[in-house]
Symmetry: C2
Subunit: 324 residues, 2 copies
């Protein structure tokens, strides 16, 4: 049902998203057997393609041309895919979206080079765009994405961190790439400066809200919905918003200590989940996500009149309220 809802939201750009999907397949075609297998595997894994969706919807505010837009929508999705492959190396993840990761199917080295190959292909796509603003935004986004991933390593298992450390992380990990998708969709389609600015900020706020919801769902959704054990973030040492909001809870303390020292047993994981789920932290985290959502909606209001405004609103609400 969730999936149907998303499809309805995509309806206007459905055929263009299919063009992007085909381009992604072509982009990941390689003469290397290993790279090909890893890439096909990644493509079959699917994903919501939300970055291309934001590119295309934002481009509707300018001079929309799918042939031109695909040269920016494809690399943004590729950067996202490449960073997921590298993330699985960092997090030592064996499962993502209910399937084995590339790192788990092959090994760290193959995962590293599959990521590199995908990044390289992303670069090739944008070479056809001459506007130096595009290259500047993309390069900056990639550097900050990597910075975010390194900060994530540095912050792992650190319980003495503040909310601002968390926000700094998710900004780089998620919000920036969605921000850049909206901004670049507008830039490449030739939208005016004011429209670019509002779409960029819309993307940033939606991205923050999206990642907070993701971090909440990691505790509240079922293993089946997540395609991996609930609580995986914490088990991997990633201290997310719900935990930061209740880290002084004396009931939680023994579990946090165990996570950092030798990990949780299955029984302890379930106890920890029950504790987090019944705490006020989930409600508080949802409130913070909603604040970002409201900010995103305010940016939509500031945009010039356009039928796509409703879509941007609906997608933000969908992403902010989703249950899986």
């Amino acid at each position: 049902m969730e999936k149907m809802k998303l499809k309805m939201l995509y309806a206007d750009i459905k055929s263009d998203i299919e063009i992007i999907e085909n381009e992604l397949e072509q982009a990941l075609n390689s003469s290397s057997h290993i790279l090909n297998n890893a890439s096909i595997y990644l493509l079959q894994g699917g994903g919501k393609r939300i970055r291309p969706v934001f590119v295309l919807l934002s481009a509707k505010f300018g001079d929309y041309n799918i042939e031109r837009m695909k040269n920016i929508a494809v690399p943004l999705e590729l950067i996202h895919m490449g960073s997921l492959v590298h993330d699985d190396v960092i997090d030592d993840s064996d499962m993502r979206r209910g399937r084995e990761t590339v790192k788990s199917q092959y090994n760290n080295r193959v995962a590293m080079y599959t990521g590199n190959f995908i990044f390289g292909k992303a670069l090739q796509y944008v070479t056809d765009i001459e506007d130096p603003r595009v290259h500047r935004i993309l390069a900056e986004t990639m550097v900050e994405l990597v910075n975010g991933e390194v900060i994530q390593i540095e912050d792992k298992f650190r319980l003495d961190q503040h909310l601002k450390d968390y926000f700094r992380r998710i900004k780089r990990k998620t919000a920036l790439l969605i921000e850049s998708s909206c901004e670049l969709g507008a830039v490449v389609s030739g939208a005016d400066e004011k429209t670019i600015r509002h779409l960029k900020r819309y993307g940033y706020f939606v991205g923050m809200s999206f990642q907070i919801v993701d971090d909440i769902l990691d505790f509240t959704a079922t293993d089946k919905q997540l395609g991996k054990p609930a609580g995986s973030d914490l088990l991997q040492g990633n201290v997310t918003l719900p935990i930061l909001l209740m880290k002084d809870d004396p009931m939680l303390a023994p579990y946090l200590e165990k996570v950092a020292s030798h990990g949780l047993t299955e029984q302890e994981r379930l106890e920890m989940l029950a504790l987090v789920r019944k705490s006020t932290a989930i409600k508080e985290a949802t409130k913070i996500s909603n604040l970002y959502l409201q900010k995103a909606l305010r940016e939509v209001e500031a945009l010039p009149n356009h039928p796509m405004k409703k879509k941007l609103r609906d997608i933000a609400l969908y992403m902010g309220k989703r249950k899986s």
Copy 2:
């Protein structure tokens, strides 16, 4: 003495190479403690900076301006540095140039992200260049570099490979980046099409010769000269030209089998080295390297008259004849 010779060759562009060195330091400055440490460590490791040297020498054939040239010389060296860090993950190398590698000092994950960070910084530098040819050449080079690294994984420990597999590997691993350095130096300085073409081919041939010499030295130089145990390439499963030229030697066969199964003891490594050193393979490999060198020199002859022609010749000869 070798080092002094190289310095003499660099004399004309000495102060400009120092500018590049400073820029590299600034480029690798990061707010992350781990990234900073890894980067400083890499910079201190030195290296010959041959890619920037080729960029600058090639640029002398156009309208030379160090401020503009550094925007292409710096990213080319950064791409080289980033790929070395990732290579050490692939090869599981603990030593390079007589020092511990980033991978060994930290771990695979940090090495992966240090590489990513360096690649990202490289991209930031070129955003100031508007010529789309530059972005196209760089993106193509990066994709082929990654392809080469994956081929290297696929070809590891494979004794049924042909010379063309080896040439395909070293082209992507080494020659392409030197080719691109020469080509981009010429393109960015606005040299004419014919000059660009000859410099590009010069770079390719020098690169091939350079890597073959490197692969020979891995057997013929001392551990001290190499900064790692001689024969490391083979021990890591990289089948290089000297081995390909003598792989049917019945004396060598037992060592090759052991390399692929459970590795060589120290005693066996020394026996294997002695065998390779006294074989005709080293001489034959040197002959092949010299053929590439001759081709490089012919490209220099075809260039318009310029005092830098002698430098290009000298550097090619230096790289093709070096002893460490």
